[in-house]
């Protein structure tokens, strides 16, 4: 390759660089230390089977699509959970109370045809976020 060709190739690459997709390395998301234990309990509670993982991925895509994937941990694992949840059973009851309130308010999300309480969808999305990075 002569100098002129090498120069043109370099110029083209530089010009296109901002347009190329950037592939970020897979890494666990930043976790508020206060949430870490709650997320560990949540991961323990929710099963790691293909169907629920698939649904969790859909939920995560849904929340990323509407742009608030980073917000819902606070609602799910906010101050109420921090004081009340130490075990999987307590997490189960915590989720139940949230989903009861969602269903009572008609606050539902449809994923793959399944109509779920918003907190349920958020929970499986959160699990997906922490399982897949």
């Amino acid at each position: 390759m002569n100098k002129r060709r090498r120069f043109l190739a370099c110029l083209t690459t530089t010009a296109l660089l901002p347009l190329l997709p950037v592939r970020r390395p897979k890494a666990a998301p930043q976790t508020d230390p206060e949430n870490a234990e709650l997320i560990r309990i949540l991961l323990e509670l929710l099963p790691d089977n293909p169907a629920s993982c698939r649904l969790g991925d859909r939920a995560l895509r849904h929340y990323r699509h509407i742009g608030n994937a980073e917000d819902f941990p606070d609602r799910l694992l906010g101050s109420a959970a921090r004081t009340a949840v130490r075990t999987t059973d307590q997490m189960r009851r915590h989720l139940r109370s949230l989903s009861d309130a969602d269903f009572a308010a008609g606050d539902t999300v449809t994923l793959d045809g399944w109509i779920m309480a918003r907190s349920e969808a958020e929970a499986i999305a959160l699990v997906s976020l922490y399982r897949t990075g």
Partner: protein, 553 residues
């Protein structure tokens, strides 16, 4: 008595007080009311028993190519050709009805801002008083359609929030085949003649078009005749009533009662389809006890009869959106049946039950109102949902099956086609049109059910893919292509206060024609979600009372 038109002389004329065109649920119910009176009644019926040639007089005209995928006349209904969606012989469609009996709801008769052309011209009390008598005609139990029917059969009914869901109860007729059950009484009545093998060709108006002078009859063999009467009742079904009025255009050029171009319009049918499936997280036996078909044992239940259990009247509960929910959703009425083979519970569900029980938890507290239990089931549930989409019914996923109201639509109509039947009558062309509001009527149900099933820990709802707005393109916006019609042809001679809004008045008399009434579901201004036979009979009894009074003057 029974008479055969074919055996009468050609050009024979029958003279009577009351001529009833059609011997189905409405016609037979009215005729029975006159047994033993001084009123001379003639019931005109095409055939005494089923005959192919007579049935094919019902064959509709082909649909335009653009709308041929699914239609009332050319489609397939429950695996049989659509021509059999109504039956043209003595007893009419009661010869194949399923026996579902349920009254309309009071609010079905009201005018609703969100449903165009809604509102009956009669008050609820003017109809409801006839239901108890109609119950007896349909051979069902007392007029009870509320949770008193669960007494002694359901211990702890689910408490759905009445702002969202309400229970709807059905009683099941044996089903009564009206000709078999009531034919003998009509045959032996000295003042009643049932004239078989006589097809009505024309409703002959007097020269001033203000009354009917006679009707013209014809047999398939070509014999002609006529019936004169003081009063005529047209009771030949939702399609045929309109066809006969439109085809009788020798005096009134647009047809009888059609000066406002309303005959045949507002054609409605119930819409049948699944709105989803239910992944049960509760003990399914509890749901089954509440929503399955129940034949009460003879122990003080209102529908129990003395003798063998099978003599009791079977009943079933369904779920409907509350009036408030329909208003919020700007939608029509729906009855939702939970169907499934309950003896074969999903393996995944069973595993969850067993695991919960092993852990020593009480079922009522722990069953899968929790997301955990639901997700554990999805591995087995998802393939089952795929089967459902492909038209197979997975026995372990109860199907949420809906009967939905079609709202009135002026452009959904019966017209006359150029083609003629074997007797030379123009065939009916049925242009069945649904609206976005009808889709919304279905679409409200999965969300209502999901919220209440979720709140009460019953399970989770999977919405049928066809209700997804993104799927609209699959049926090009016309979802009549994918739905099953209920074969409850209605609305084509609707009842109204004002001739500008309907074909018959509140007494079911054709506006402007003093001695012609219409009976049957063609007079329904709206259809609710109720199967129509009980209301057809109730309105027929109401008309019979009115005519008795009128003909005795």
């Amino acid at each position: 008595m029974f008479a055969d038109f074919r055996e009468l002389p050609d050009q024979h004329q029958v003279d009577c007080d009351l001529c009833i065109i059609g011997g189905g649920a409405a016609g037979i119910s009215i005729a029975r009311e006159f047994i033993g009176t001084t009123t001379k009644v003639c019931v005109v019926e095409s055939a005494q028993e089923y005959e192919d040639a007579t049935q094919h007089l019902y064959q509709g005209a082909p649909q335009p190519a653009a709308k041929r995928a699914r239609s009332i006349e050319d489609g397939v209904h429950y695996g049989v050709p659509a021509i059999h969606s109504r039956l043209r012989y003595f007893g009419g469609s009661t010869n194949h009805w399923g026996g579902y009996c349920v009254p309309l709801d009071p609010e079905d008769l009201e005018k609703h801002d969100w449903i165009p052309d809604s509102g009956w011209p009669i008050e609820w009390r003017e109809l409801s008083g006839f239901y108890p008598r109609a119950q007896a005609v349909c051979e069902i139990g007392p007029y009870i359609y509320d949770d008193r029917l669960w007494r002694r059969t359901v211990d702890a009914p689910y408490a759905f929030d009445a702002q969202y869901l309400v229970n709807r109860f059905y009683q099941f007729s044996p089903p009564t085949r009206f000709a078999d059950r009531y034919g003998a009484a009509l045959k032996t009545a000295s003042n009643i003649t049932v004239l078989f093998n006589a097809n009505v060709m024309n409703i002959g108006l007097a020269a001033n078009a203000a009354s009917v002078d006679h009707i013209t009859l014809k047999s398939l063999a070509g014999k002609s005749g006529r019936v004169t009467a003081r009063h005529f009742v047209l009771a030949s079904g939702g399609i045929e009533n309109a066809r006969l009025l439109l085809a009788s255009n020798d005096v009134a050029s647009r047809g009888v009662g059609n000066s406002r171009d309303l005959v045949g319009r507002y054609f409605m049918d119930h819409l049948y389809d699944s709105v989803g499936s239910l992944l049960v997280s509760e003990n399914p036996q509890r749901l089954m006890a509440q929503y399955a078909e129940i034949t009460p044992e003879s122990s003080g239940h209102p529908l129990a009869k003395a003798g063998p259990e099978s003599d009791s009247v079977m009943f079933q509960a369904a779920l409907s959106p509350s009036p408030a929910a329909k208003k919020r959703n700007s939608a029509g009425a729906v009855a939702l049946f939970i169907r499934g083979d309950w003896s074969r519970v999903d393996e995944g569900v069973r595993a969850v039950y067993e695991a919960v029980e092993r852990d020593g938890n009480s079922a009522s507290e722990s069953y899968g109102s929790y997301l955990l239990d639901i997700l554990r089931n999805l591995d087995t549930a998802l393939p089952a949902v795929k089967n459902l989409v492909q038209g197979k019914s997975p026995p372990h996923l109860p199907v949420l099956f809906a009967i939905a109201e079609q709202v009135p639509n002026r452009d959904s109509r019966i017209t006359l086609a150029g083609e003629k039947d074997a007797l030379g009558m123009p065939r009916a062309r049925i242009d069945w049109r649904l609206s976005e509001q009808d889709r919304r009527t279905f679409a409200q149900m999965p969300d209502l059910l999901a919220a209440e099933f979720g709140r009460l820990g019953i399970g989770r709802v999977h919405k049928s893919p066809w209700l997804d707005e993104d799927a609209l393109y699959l049926y090009r916006g016309d979802f009549s292509r994918i739905l099953e019609p209920g074969r409850h042809h209605s609305g084509t001679t609707k009842m109204a206060h004002d001739p500008a809004r309907g074909v018959v008045d509140a007494d079911c008399q054709v506006f402007g024609v003093s001695n012609l009434s219409v009976a049957g579901s063609s007079v329904f201004p709206t259809i609710g979600s109720a199967n129509p036979t009980l209301t057809i009979v109730a309105l027929a009894l109401r008309l019979a009372d009115h005519l008795k009074d009128r003909l005795s003057r």
